[in-house]
Symmetry: C2
Subunit: 101 residues, 2 copies
């Protein structure tokens, strides 16, 4: 899962909430194998501007990811994500399986 947050109005408050609240919640997702968060700067040579944070969460497969978000821990994560990004346009989420090519 790739999650892209746009630059929030209050970056300090976002950072505090992301790392102190959201990250511990995400670490409770069943089946989470790896969790990476972008450092700044994020360069964008084309397309969308103003990304602030990109998170990549790795699960064994799409089913494992869906199952994780169906648990209480997953619902807590999703609810907290809406604190970080109240409007749908503040965040993009892409859930997919990938293969090395």
């Amino acid at each position: 899962m790739v999650v892209i947050y746009r630059t929030p109005p209050d970056v300090a408050a976002f950072d505090t909430h992301y790392f102190d609240v959201h990250l511990p919640l995400a670490h409770q997702l069943p089946g989470l194998r790896r969790y990476e968060v972008s450092k700044r700067p994020i360069a964008t040579p084309a397309g969308d501007a103003e990304p602030y944070l990109v998170a990549i969460l790795y699960f064994d497969n799409l089913d494992a990811l869906r199952q994780a978000f169906a648990t209480p821990e997953g619902r807590a994560c999703a609810a907290d994500r809406r604190v970080l990004a109240p409007r749908d346009e503040d965040v993009q989420m892409y859930l997919f399986e990938s293969a090395e090519v």
Copy 2:
């Protein structure tokens, strides 16, 4: 680097070009450590609709990535990307370093 292509007008032509032309070009990027491409479907519970393909290219760091795109191979990749996604709004690219958290 995360690259997100929107659904193109001609998906069959996109696929052919992506896998037969772009992928071999990308594999020539100096310093490319790993290259993953999404399988379908890509679920999008919030935000951007109609993603068609997500590619994740791994390099040692952001400098290595920038150096790769400054080479003839990198310029060929970038030029070919514009064949796949002629308009900037057809693609999003995010270049960043990430850390496991």
